[in-house]
Symmetry: C2
Amino acid sequence: MKNILVGQSGGPTAVLNASLYGVIKGFIALKKSIPRIYGMVNGVEGFLNGQVVDLEREFSDEMSLEKLKTTPGAYLGSCRFKLPDELDDSTFSILFHKFEALDIRYFLYIGGNDSMDTVSKLSLYASKINSPVRIIGIPKTIDNDLILTDHTPGFGSAAKYVATTVREIGIDSSIYNTKSVTIVEIMGRHAGWLTAASVLSRQYPGDNPLLIYLPEATFDVEDFLTRIEQAFLQSKNLMVCISEGIRDKDGKFICEYDNHVGTDSFGHKMLAGSGKYLENLIRDRFRIKVRSVELNVTQRCSSTLQSLTDVNEAVWAGTFGVNKAVAGETGMMVALKRVSNEPYTLTYETVDVNKVCNREKTVPLSWIADNGTDLSEECIAYLKPLIQGNTVVPLEDGLPVYAYRKNMSE
Amino acid sequence: MKNILVGQSGGPTAVLNASLYGVIKGFIALKKSIPRIYGMVNGVEGFLNGQVVDLEREFSDEMSLEKLKTTPGAYLGSCRFKLPDELDDSTFSILFHKFEALDIRYFLYIGGNDSMDTVSKLSLYASKINSPVRIIGIPKTIDNDLILTDHTPGFGSAAKYVATTVREIGIDSSIYNTKSVTIVEIMGRHAGWLTAASVLSRQYPGDNPLLIYLPEATFDVEDFLTRIEQAFLQSKNLMVCISEGIRDKDGKFICEYDNHVGTDSFGHKMLAGSGKYLENLIRDRFRIKVRSVELNVTQRCSSTLQSLTDVNEAVWAGTFGVNKAVAGETGMMVALKRVSNEPYTLTYETVDVNKVCNREKTVPLSWIADNGTDLSEECIAYLKPLIQGNTVVPLEDGLPVYAYRKNMSE
């Protein structure tokens, strides 16, 4: 048993495929001793249904492998699949029989919190049955909420997207000489990392976004309205960035306040987001122009705003994972360890995946400034290195060219 | 009277400032004979309130002028202001007195349909009072709906944004092995040009977006649902692009069908967009995963996805406008005339602004294919040259640096 198996799991990011690229590169470097590299299609779930591809054949020409590096999304397809809690469930023995059938020795799983739960369970099962299969997790999430790692691949590119786009929306919303408020709602139900990145959008002191609200701090509606009113004494066009998961002092999501907006013509309950709720609140109170913008899914899958730092780290996390598995480690997750901010220096290590899974890293309260409306210099120093550098995405006819599997959804 | 005055008006685009840059460049080339160049702040409306800046002083260092070229939005600020219909209204004499006070001989107004109405009225008034002030319009709109010009500066960049982003959303929405529909709603109430650009997103025959609907063709709800059902026989993850202004056979906006969704907690009527309406419709009918994404304001103000072709054309439209005004033309709009598609060749001319304003150019019905669900090869050939080339936006700390007036909103 000598082969490598790699899978992708959970939500897409801009660099999930960069880690897959890194795993393949790791395989290529060790090709003398490892005959094959297989890819799970649609993660563990697809693998259980027999969906697997030979990745060497898939990327037989080097050009397509290079394309993979900057392709967003999940080339192999993904899944949201939780393994049973009981290790004597037949799912485990089925999986390990499938490993055996393909001569798998090393299994790399690229994903977030739930995927690390899979890595944990599979490695515990391997140990239980004395299987030699070594299982390593490669971290990936735009939410940056995994513990024991300085940050997660995928976050830097999403942060760069948010910082750039919020700067552009700020310009867009300030061209008229009339009072206006623009609310930008950013992904992040529990952890405010991505919203925090909007602090980088400011070009000069006093520039928008004026206020930034994370789920980690309490959101006080009256304080918010007072701040808006006061800000209008200084400037006409205000922008506010909020996490989708902002909460009041009782822990109630702000978006839940608006669950009485009625039903649509099909009888479905209409739920407005936090941004929409605050938009209506401000319009009602001040009778001025208000717009709320929900940054859409491109915040997690834009190749145009990939951070080169993020892509390079994602690639190396993949290769490092292969090397560690081959060196005999199992039940571990690749982690990023920051040595210094200036110059930004990073090392890689592995940490016990059992300590990582099912926990959540949020923004430290000490990094949240101005009564929960801004971020500290320390936070800015943490964020800045992660968005540095731009990638060069291959273009054809003016558009980015991506690696794809035509039969993806067959 | 020898000076130049320039203003920006209407909604922002990615290259509205590129045209301002072009006007300034035109001035610099003629500096021997033209002493000054002034900028209206917030268009004609701000100018009436005395808001004007000396643009030579504003851009005294060349670096900041170069930054202007790739800065989205409206550097000078904009307005939505319609001049009175009666030429004997005092507004006109006030404006021309202000022109006189600044020794203005040439007035360049960069904008869309409404701004061309301003150019038309001012030039008619100038003729009426025998004023030597020459007035030229520089076209600008992401909607591409001005007549007598092949296309409008601003459209190419917005089209490139739409084509790129739709391709990315298509990747994002196809990673799971479960049936799903993703609806992308694109700007365009009456003209479907921008939505048509999503046809460029396809990487291979059969790729998403599966269906594309413009306001120019009738939208039939039952036909739409039948097509969705049939498409699921081929593929699991479907994407549909729609203009915000799609209409049924009676001319009723699809979004109007959902105006009974209720009121929010402040008593405001909640209006769902066309995308939201179709999302609910599909979920109700097929009980599958559906998401609707409204491309936000970044579709009109992203510098990251500027088309180099568009930027260059916007710059030259500005410079060409200055040259034509100095050559004695007035009451004209700069127009782009396509000579050939391959190689893409363009010339510039001026057209009578009175024939342009208050009219609207929509997508020819002959370019709409497959019963109103796709675009023809002819349309693709028209669109392709407009999105070619990427700009290099100056970066600082990993983010684009933009020209700005700190006191913009004071």
